[in-house]
């Protein structure tokens, strides 16, 4: 019975995904709502991302320094940190925070609209709720994640610079020069694509669970919770797939 229910959910999810794609390529797009959602999502996540990225930069630098120092390669610290941050740490931290914050937000918001019949009210007045509520949020998360990743990278590298400065005095310009030298366009592009995929997954999963919520307030809680857990899982899976894929180009 559980296998059957899981298969039904996979089929249901696939149809939901197909519906999203159909609406993305079928005009009109909800440009105003996409920008509105992207702005709200970006602003809401900014503080948390700033804080965690800064700390992640400090912690990673602090933990890497002794190992590099034992090889006498402490000067490689900016290069090591920048590659780790741009390739993996930045997108992963941003993705996980957004999965928690935006995934739960989308799941709970749409879930509560579903159980209070607000989505039904939109549907019966021919207001095309799927496009307005789901597709706009999916596109907003897809657009906003890469921007947040760039921001998180910068803050992380700044945190790292602060830490590096406690080991050896170095100028910001010199530090940045070492960072730029060690990061390639492939790293940046791959990071952006990965971030966009994370955003797409968070939007789709949050949208799916919220839009199909049932059973009153319990259903809303379940939708938010499942959206977060599934989004986080999907981020690790996408990260792994992208890593394998990028190995062909490195």
């Amino acid at each position: 019975m559980k296998v059957k229910s899981a298969l039904v959910q996979v089929a249901d999810g696939s149809l939901f995904l197909a519906k999203i794609f159909r609406h993305i390529f079928k005009p009109p797009l909800e440009i105003k709502e996409i920008i509105n959602q992207a702005y709200k999502m970006g602003v809401k996540s900014l503080f948390l991302i700033s804080f965690t990225s800064f700390l992640a930069g400090i912690v990673f630098t602090k933990q890497s320094q002794p190992s590099l120092a034992s090889f006498g390669a402490e000067s490689w610290l900016p290069s090591l940190v920048s590659q780790a941050v741009v390739r993996s740490l930045g997108p992963l931290i941003t993705g996980l925070i957004c999965a928690g914050k935006l995934g739960s937000n989308i799941g709970a918001e749409l879930g509560s609209m579903r159980v209070t019949e607000q989505i039904d009210a939109m549907e019966v007045s021919a207001s095309r709720p799927f496009s307005y509520l789901v597709v706009s949020r999916v596109l907003a998360t897809t657009l906003v994640l890469p921007i947040l990743v760039v921001y998180a990278d910068v803050i992380s590298l700044f945190g790292s610079f602060v830490m590096v400065n406690t080991f050896r005095s170095t100028s910001l310009l010199l530090y940045l020069g070492e960072v730029v030298d060690s990061v390639t366009f492939l790293d940046i592009n791959a990071s952006m694509i990965k971030a966009a995929l994370f955003g797409f997954a968070i939007g789709c999963i949050g949208g799916y669970h919220g839009y199909n919520a049932s059973n009153g307030t319990t259903g809303v809680g379940k939708a938010a919770n499942t959206a977060v857990v599934a989004s986080m899982l999907s981020i690790f899976i996408i990260d792994l797939i992208m890593l394998q894929f990028l190995n062909f180009f490195r």
Binding site: Q118, D120, A121, A126
Partner: protein, 253 residues
């Protein structure tokens, strides 16, 4: 069916409609008609399938079998666009009002207009929103949010929102549920006013006999998935069928 009924144009036709959820049969080969310009009350106990019936009508729930015709269109064989063309002609007032709680009352009423007519100008939207709010006597709430309103006010705003698209058919799902008798009477009056002013045909789902009494041209009793009982309020009151005995006994008390 009387001769006069045969002469009248049916705007909604349920033809042997069935719907089950798992093993639970909700609608069992149900057939009924809503005639042009009439207020049809569907009476039944909680869980009788009254709400399922009107949700099938607007395509929110797909029946397992049967045919539903609305304004001459077969609802079972419509594309999404065609379904939306029919839906704009139907106003659905939800039991819990279903106001969009993140929007102001103005935005609640403006939203369906903007979504169904991309060319409509803002001043026209404002004029229509004000007109509808005035009609339900709640223009003063225009800048408030739903959380600031009472249950009765929400119901009135919900009705105003359904009227914004000038529907031909109104569907009221338990319009007086959870309201005090005075507010319920106000809602009944509003239903009659909408009927008179907008010349709508309406299906009113209720288990409240006073609502049925005040608003019905004709009553259909929905029991065990069938429309077992049919008649005017007075006819049913004077000679209540077994299923409706408890309803009328309650009124006597």
């Amino acid at each position: 069916m009387s001769e006069s009924e045969q002469d009248r144009k049916a705007v909604v036709i349920f033809d042997d409609v069935s719907k089950s959820f798992g093993d639970l049969v909700i609608l069992d080969n149900l057939s009924l008609k809503l005639y042009d310009g009439e207020n049809l009350v569907i009476l039944g106990k909680s869980g009788a399938g009254k709400s399922v019936l009107i949700k099938c009508l607007v395509g929110l729930i797909k029946p397992d079998a049967g045919k539903i015709t609305v304004l001459g269109r077969d609802m079972m064989n419509l594309t999404e666009e065609e379904l939306n063309e029919v839906r704009v002609q139907i106003g659905f007032s939800f039991q819990g009002s279903a106001l969009y709680d993140s929007m102001t009352i103005y935005e609640n009423l403006a939203f369906p207009l903007r979504r169904t007519d991309s060319k409509i100008k803002e001043d026209e939207i404002e004029a229509r929103v004000r007109e509808r709010l005035e009609e339900v006597g709640l223009l003063k709430t225009i800048n408030q949010v739903p959380a600031e309103l009472s249950g009765g006010m929400k119901k009135r705003i919900g009705i105003a929102r359904t009227l914004i698209l000038n529907p031909k058919i109104m569907l009221y799902d338990e319009p007086t549920a959870g309201l005090d008798p005075e507010t319920a009477a106000d809602i009944n009056d509003l239903i009659l006013q909408v009927h008179k002013v907008h010349k709508t045909s309406a299906i009113i789902i209720t288990h409240d006999l006073s609502c049925a009494h005040a608003t019905a041209d004709r009553i259909v009793g929905l029991f065990d998935g069938h429309n077992k009982i049919e008649g005017t309020y007075d006819a049913l009151r004077n000679n209540p069928p077994e299923e409706l005995m408890s309803f009328f006994d309650y009124i006597k008390i």
